[in-house]
Point group: C2
């Protein structure tokens, strides 16, 4: 089958690889309904993470179960499933605490930019729909797997509540999903920091009430102006750079929580500043599994349409162009037809 | 009147100073029923904070209102009051958000190691008891002003819940109050990290279920052993050094919150480590005013006895010995008779 492999910075290829097989009795093989490229795929693509050897790319997936290992009991061939990018058993103490992304058996999904993928710990990781979903919901169900689940976690970690004032730093796909999540959680005001017209428009469509297109000191000043000089109750940091984190910290009111979901690259916090700013932090890889059933329900009931975040659709064989388009910010997020 | 002044590292003196006067119409003058020395007073005493000139020491207080400014309406002379070490108006957006320690008019109390003290923003800062309290409750009511309020905030920020497993790092007075707070909040298990017999005993009396007397890797290993290799749901960091914070981070399970209330001295956090450990942080100067009414009620109803944390009582004129005793860890916390 064809699959996407990253060989080094800027060098992504779609090439023939062997089809995945059941390795452990807890595995499932799924036939993907669609795949996509993640903002986090751009870190190694841009040379900001080491690429020790060819990497099988792709960790977002949904599709039809093709085969299950002998120990799998909760899903069966023919069912439509969505899974998290974090593989988890969903039974260990960390999973039961709601942090499946720190499962004691955690693995990170790989090889999902392909027509078939092996999902370890299928019972813990996959959630099946009651029936096969209509085709037009596939992009939204795919989004649940990571980008929506991650934006949702940012809002959850930032403790968005009914009526909260929320600031979203980052207008990538995750930030836009953070806007959607905050809206669903009842936020009264959602300030999206975005410089790009198409992303601003999507943010507004997902529920943003205000757009701040400035960054740095000017951006902070505008957020303060919009919030009675106080700052946001909840701030979603969806980038992962020192600059974006500084922005988040300065836009947060005392007592606010920052939910940070952009993998930090070179981010450091000074304890005393954090102390006197009295701003809380909670971040990490999103425990998407915790939110999967609820988010799948919202999609199936057509209450949310996170699939709108895909503004470019390409065949898997053009994956390299999908990476380029996202790298150059021509696309927010690329859906791959597999 | 006599008052305690810090002239420099190790140089604390009790000397004659003028009595405080009403300066602003929102001030009150109170006659202290007792005063005390705070663990945070030891930072400048130990030369770890700058002492630019003689500092009027003391920020914990309770006593009888002597005089109020013309704008004060909520307390009147003759009432017994407790106030927070953070002066706040209790009406600004930060106060209404429960973070009176970041009040837009915040000041830090000073000059309370004396028989009389001026309390700015009296209406926002002071809470009166329904009647004059019995003398034996004075130490506990004094404790509410900072040390208990701070331990309580540590537990609140660390989100201690019914049944939580709580780890308390630091066996100073604040750590011990954190144990008491966690117990009151219904924690199922409270692991106090303490190397000192008298503090261990007090921790057990306040509700600790386990004592870990090791530090560093051994201490972490023991906490892990006690928690099924997972770590605490909530961790209270009550010291403020890089070592104690590292201890707290390593004792926290994924998804845990660390409430940190020791003023950080040289503490830094690496964003990526925090991200992958998936441990949350919330700290800062405690918004004691938020908790004052509840904590005063608990004391007046004799449901808690935080005053037990004072294991040395001296006349104000012997304040220097009180500092020495705490610095040398001969005393947990010194009460000063004024």
């Amino acid at each position: 089958m064809l699959a996407t492999m990253l060989y080094g910075a800027g060098d992504v290829r779609c090439e023939e690889v062997p089809e995945p097989k059941i390795i452990h009795p807890t595995d499932a093989i799924i036939r993907l309904s669609a795949s996509c490229i993640c903002g986090s795929d751009l870190w190694p693509y841009r040379g900001l993470n080491d690429v020790p050897g060819p990497m099988a790319m792709g960790h977002e997936y949904c599709g039809i179960v093709e085969e299950v290992g002998s120990a799998v009991t909760s899903v069966r061939p023919g069912q439509f499933v969505v899974g998290s990018f974090c593989i988890s058993d969903n039974t260990c103490p960390n999973c039961r605490f709601g942090f499946q992304s720190s499962c004691v058996q955690r693995e990170f999904m790989t090889g999902a930019q392909a027509p078939l993928a092996r999902v370890p710990l299928a019972d813990g990781t996959l959630v099946a729909t009651p029936a096969l979903p209509p085709d037009d919901l596939i992009p939204s169900l795919l989004a649940v797997s990571d980008v929506l689940g991650t934006g949702w976690y940012a809002a959850d970690a930032a403790r968005v509540r009914e009526g909260s004032t929320v600031v979203v730093v980052g207008d990538g796909a995750v930030g836009l999903m953070g806007v959607l999540a905050a809206k669903q959680m009842g936020a009264g005001r959602i300030i999206a920091m975005s410089r790009h017209k198409t992303r601003q428009d999507l943010a507004l469509e997902f529920g943003a009430t205000d757009i701040v297109s400035e960054r740095g000191e000017k951006g902070v000043a505008l957020v303060k102006e919009l919030t009675g000089n106080i700052g946001g109750d909840s701030v979603l940091e969806c980038v992962g750079t020192q600059e974006s984190m500084a922005q988040a910290l300065q836009c947060a009111r005392p007592g606010a929580m920052i939910g940070f979901v952009g993998v930090p690259h070179g981010v450091e916090f000074d304890g005393q500043s954090l102390f006197f700013a009295q701003v809380g932090l909670m971040g990490g890889p999103a425990p998407v599994r915790r939110f999967l059933p609820h988010l799948m329900e919202l999609v199936l009931a057509r209450k949310i349409n996170p699939g709108k975040v895909f503004d470019l659709t390409l065949p898997l064989s053009d994956a390299a162009e999908g990476y380029r388009a996202m790298d150059e910010r021509r696309a927010i997020k690329t859906l791959l037809r597999v």
